[in-house]
Subunit: 231 residues, 2 copies
């Protein structure tokens, strides 16, 4: 499948790397290709510059947001949630009409220091997932996997043989089926994917981030996930 | 132990019933004792009027908020989160100084219909747990158990032999130890209680409510809980 990944940070890298290992054709979208490829500094979390990752993953083509969006049959939003709406406007959404957008991002606001809050206008009575769907009604937005560290997104078996849950929501049933199929390729069992209904449920999955961050601080690692336990 | 339970709704009833079964001395606080005892209608969830529950649990003394707060060595807040600050002011917090307040409540705002949001001023950059601690600095607020249905709070073994988690947070270590001891009596294993640090973590545990509600709608029951899965 042709898959576009918007965003070249660690989330975009992790998704792209896994997708090419699954023999998908991947293009990564970025604001300024030359700038992304020539950057010599890593991110704030100690990850190396993008070009080091790309050295080892050369079959991934790095293009503009607009080119990637036009290329992909499925588009994955791995941009910083603060920028997502602006990025999608820049990408020129005409190339995405009728397509599935898998939104992994969270509207984290680091502007007032740690721990981040959510962006106030995208919290409680709104969410980034809903805002994307409302802003671009011709794209089928599916929110999924945003409640966990990216390593687990693409390899659920890395903790407790995948015995934990992913949440998915969106207004278009066909788009959710496409994303569920992708999740299956990543290793998610159908019984581990909980469909919470329409895109308004992204309010719930995004608002879990403050708890996620506290748990990460407590257990000292992002390598955990939520499981819904019942009889 | 002498334990005060503020609030006579289903959460207060469930906690009080379990506490007397554990041989604690329990007083329940309410705004207007006579009104609570004479009410003939149940709540919006189909639970019978308070007096029917009290018929079977007569050793629980029903008193004013202020009397209960003075009586209890530990005070449990099982009031509606919308009213909690007003109730605590009414209770006269002098009787609670130096005591532990276990806060179970969530600042759910049903005023705009279903699903509820959180009260805007108690979300994202604040929380009810923090607001209580800030308003009443001489009380030791411990937020715990607010991420689950009340039946599970007092009987974790009812689902999957207790193999799931409770979160606890608060500024006073001694108060957290007292609450942890109470949790142990309810059946919580120490390994199932995750201490998230100071009271600011209640922001995270309260913000999980929108997801909790979506999951409840999806699985069709409140009899589930979160488990943090890791290697």
């Amino acid at each position: 499948m042709k898959i576009a990944v918007l965003g070249t940070g660690i989330v975009g890298q992790t998704l792209s790397g896994r997708l090419i290992a699954l023999n998908h054709e991947v293009q990564m979208g970025t604001r300024d290709v030359e700038k992304t490829m020539s950057r010599t500094t890593g991110d704030n979390y100690g990850n190396p510059p993008f070009r080091e990752w790309h050295e080892k993953n050369k079959q991934v083509k790095v293009v503009t947001f607009a080119e990637a969006a036009t290329f992909g049959d499925i588009i994955i939003n791995a941009t910083n949630g603060t920028n997502t709406i602006a990025v999608l406007k820049m990408a020129g959404t005409a190339g995405m009409h009728g397509k599935t957008l898998l939104d992994l991002s969270n509207p984290l606001d680091f502007s007032k220091g740690m721990p981040p809050t959510l962006i106030a206008s995208l919290c409680n009575n709104n969410s980034l997932g809903e805002e994307i769907q409302r802003s671009f009604p011709k794209i089928n937005v599916v929110k999924a996997l945003n409640t966990m560290w990216c390593g687990i997104m693409v390899n659920p078996d890395m903790i407790q043989s995948g015995d934990h849950h992913a949440f998915i929501c969106g207004n278009d049933v066909g788009a959710k089926m496409k994303v569920t199929d992708l999740l299956r390729q990543f290793g998610w069992k159908d019984s581990s994917v909980i469909d919470l209904g329409d895109i308004s449920a992204s309010r719930g999955t995004e608002m879990v981030l403050p708890l996620w961050l506290k748990i990460m601080n407590t257990v000292g690692s992002g390598a955990f996930n939520f499981k819904i336990v019942r009889n």
